[in-house]
Assembly symmetry: C2
């Protein structure tokens, strides 16, 4: 088994209303100095060793990301989840 992280973010030229809402909320909560926020997704996959990089690319591009409006990155990581 291997652990794979796929990160999906809205493309730079795509409006991100979720991120804009967070910027607004930060201001109302008194947190100053945050100029921009963009919100994306993070997936952690546990895959068999039979799953190669080509398959991971297809999984990311065809299922996890909408490549019209999002970019993605795929990387294999050591077995250490976000803490």
């Amino acid at each position: 088994m291997a652990r794979v992280v796929v990160e999906v973010m809205p493309k730079a030229e795509i409006l991100d209303p979720q991120g804009q809402a967070i910027v607004g909320a930060l201001g109302r909560l008194g947190f100053d100095g945050v100029g921009e926020v963009r919100q994306g997704k993070r997936f952690e996959l546990e895959v068999d060793d039979s799953v190669d990089d080509v398959a991971l690319e297809r999984i990311a591009a065809e299922l996890l990301a909408n490549t019209v409006i999002e970019t993605y990155s795929v990387r294999r990581v050591a077995d250490a989840p976000a803490s």
Copy 2:
């Protein structure tokens, strides 16, 4: 300005129906060998240099993550968005 990445993931003991739905979809699409998927969020923030690590921790814990069911990590990164 500095770029900060905040990653938010469901805690290990919390059921993740979105991730389970992805596992099911992968099977139907013919991708075998993926045992578990967990879906979280990824935020990219552009912050002024006046925003210190204590403020970033508060932003993550009070606004971006629901710490009852989610864990989060905060890190400053070089100016390189996910590609």
